[in-house]
Symmetry: C2
Subunit: 336 residues, 2 copies
DNA sequence: CTGCAAACTGAAAACGTTTACAGTTGTTCA
DNA sequence: TGAACAACTGTAAACGTTTTCAGTTTGCAG
């Protein structure tokens, strides 16, 4: 491994000059140094550079579970943007555990320049933990408090939920069920509330027995749907708060022989692979995971760049649009 | 940020002693140092450590595309194992490009201890490039030559393909189509060959017009299926080489109104989310992505550990079992 | 007690950069 | 021609560790 001394020697200059050239400054005999660099195949040592300068050209990406296709796509979006700027990403899964986040970030702070995180909790301790890192942070998909001192990228959950509600209403549904995710999380809470409010605005109320709230997991979706079925299925449409719960719910409804959309209209948040191939292709509110990743990365890179400027830019909250993708899982309710 | 000097001072010892304690050696007054460490919240600086010792406690993970659920799950498996041993992962997508792999790894070699890679090509240049890194490498899912000088983890593709063939044969199929992925890749080539050989062993030959070979992508699966449909659909069953192609093919067949399994039996490699929810839940050969990740990580960690031992362990090729998951997409061929 | 091995310790060098400081060279203008 | 200034350059000190080397302490047998 050639180091900066070798290059300097080969080019007949001092290491300082090489370093400066690498930093983009003008030097007298640039070509000699360039030649030496390519002849020796020199690459600056990241550890030495990081140690001395505190810049690591690395970004920590913390998601609840990298195996979840939505988060994986998000990571891909982040990766695409940061790679282009010479940064790399360290990925870690938190399993929705605050403690895991703390643990991981604690061990990472001396090696990264910034953090992109889908936080597990919207809690004060999360807020505090992130603030104490003292590095640029971008929250994705969820927030940690009403107006956090971080950049924030998410989608228009309220609008999406309203679109879902209006779609069902316009088809004539009046008895509607809802399966929602954790109310402690931004998407869980906003989607739930906005959906219910949109219904209320049309004079429709949900029977408390038809409201299920739990984890954003397939398992919960499945059990929630089972409970609804056991409860007598006293509704004609159901709104599910995300794709994993939706898959679980579909499983339960399918097993119970409940036909979609004849017996039950089905709509959910988040598109998923094959949603279009199901017996009744699922109508969804979809969101742009890749674009979210891009936006998050751009925000972070801008903030890193601004780090040695006099004053920091204000925190930005980016809200990306969602889309109603109408397929065939929603129909007019069956007559009495 | 407290550093080792602060700890040493607080504990009344030299920095060497602190360093040694951290390395697991015995020291006289361990508790004093431990107290100082926790009182100051000291964490060794990764850059300094990496610079001095050359150990980075970091592993590079290169996959074709992190957004692909299979690779995402694989990464999760690696992460789980590696985190438990105090390592972190840097993830990068190659987009199946050798040049991207080279680029990424070149920039990473001064920051990682080992590389886990799903290589884009089974080429000599890939082999060479990886060998030149001079670090432990584990190949996952694909190889780069007949007997590469690396550890290797993959699944029993040949057995899986045979199981698929035998399943179809046992149902009575004799006219069978195949959609295969890149023959330059291990799984592409092995699955293809083993399937055809298994059929041949039963005296069944595939009409060349019913063989489609292309990229491991949804787009190719879709177009391949379209071509087969346009070709008159002169077969009663089809075997598809992986899940993404399978999804594309299902889309085409679905659009063309071809019923599964009545008109066409369908079987593919790789399970996928919701395979069980389709109109005809898909029968698949599934492989354990998480377990592959675990195995790869274990191999790598063992090799890192052995790095300063006298002699290196022999290269291991781990072949994990696959499983035939029978659902409802295969049936006896319709009578003439 | 003494001596000796074993167990531990500290000083200092090294890892490969960036950067402050103090020069040095080159250019421009009186 | 020389002064003033801009543009570039080199030396050397950091950054926070690990590790070698040369001690020092401890424990134990004689």
């Amino acid at each position: 491994m050639a180091n900066i001394h070798d290059v300097a020697q080969a080019a007949g200059v001092s290491i300082a000059t090489v370093s400066r050239m690498l930093a983009g400054e003008n030097i007298r005999n640039r070509t000699a140094v360039e030649n030496a660099i390519s002849a020796l195949g020199y690459r600056p040592n990241a550890s030495a550079r990081g140690l001395r300068s505190g810049r690591h050209h690395t970004i920590a990406v913390i998601v609840p579970d990298i195996a979840n296709p939505y988060f994986a796509t998000l990571v891909r979006g982040i990766e695409e943007r940061v790679i282009a700027r010479g940064y790399r990403i360290i990925v870690a899964s938190s399993d929705e555990q605050f403690t895991a986040e703390t643990e991981v970030l604690g061990g990472l702070m001396d090696a990264v320049d910034a953090v992109a995180i889908v936080p597990a909790e919207a809690s004060e301790r999360t807020n505090l933990m992130l603030a104490e890192l003292g590095k640029p942070v971008v929250l994705i998909d969820r927030t940690v408090s009403d107006s956090p001192d971080f950049d924030l990228v998410h989608v228009d959950n309220a609008k999406g939920a309203r679109m879902a509600a209006e779609h069902l209403l316009s088809l004539g549904h009046r008895k509607i069920a809802i399966i929602s995710g954790r109310q402690e999380s931004l998407p869980g809470q906003v989607r739930h509330t906005a959906f219910i409010e949109a219904l209320a605005a049309a004079g429709v109320e949900i029977d408390p027995g038809n409201i299920k709230i739990g984890e954003f997991t397939r398992a919960f979706g499945q059990s929630a749907a089972s409970e609804l079925i056991d409860g007598g299925l006293d509704f004609t449409a159901v709104f599910v708060g995300n794709n994993t719960m939706a898959q679980g719910a579909l499983l339960s409804f399918h097993e119970a022989g409940i036909t979609i959309p004849e017996r039950l209209s089905f709509i959910c948040f988040d598109d998923f692979d094959l949603a279009e191939l199901l017996p009744a292709p699922v109508t969804v509110i979809s969101r742009p995971a890749i674009a979210e990743g891009h936006a998050a990365a751009d925000l972070l890179l801008a903030r890193i760049q601004a780090l040695d400027a006099a004053e920091q830019p204000a925190f930005r909250h980016l809200i990306l649009p969602v889309q109603l993708t109408v397929r065939q899982s929603c129909a007019a309710p069956a007559g009495p």
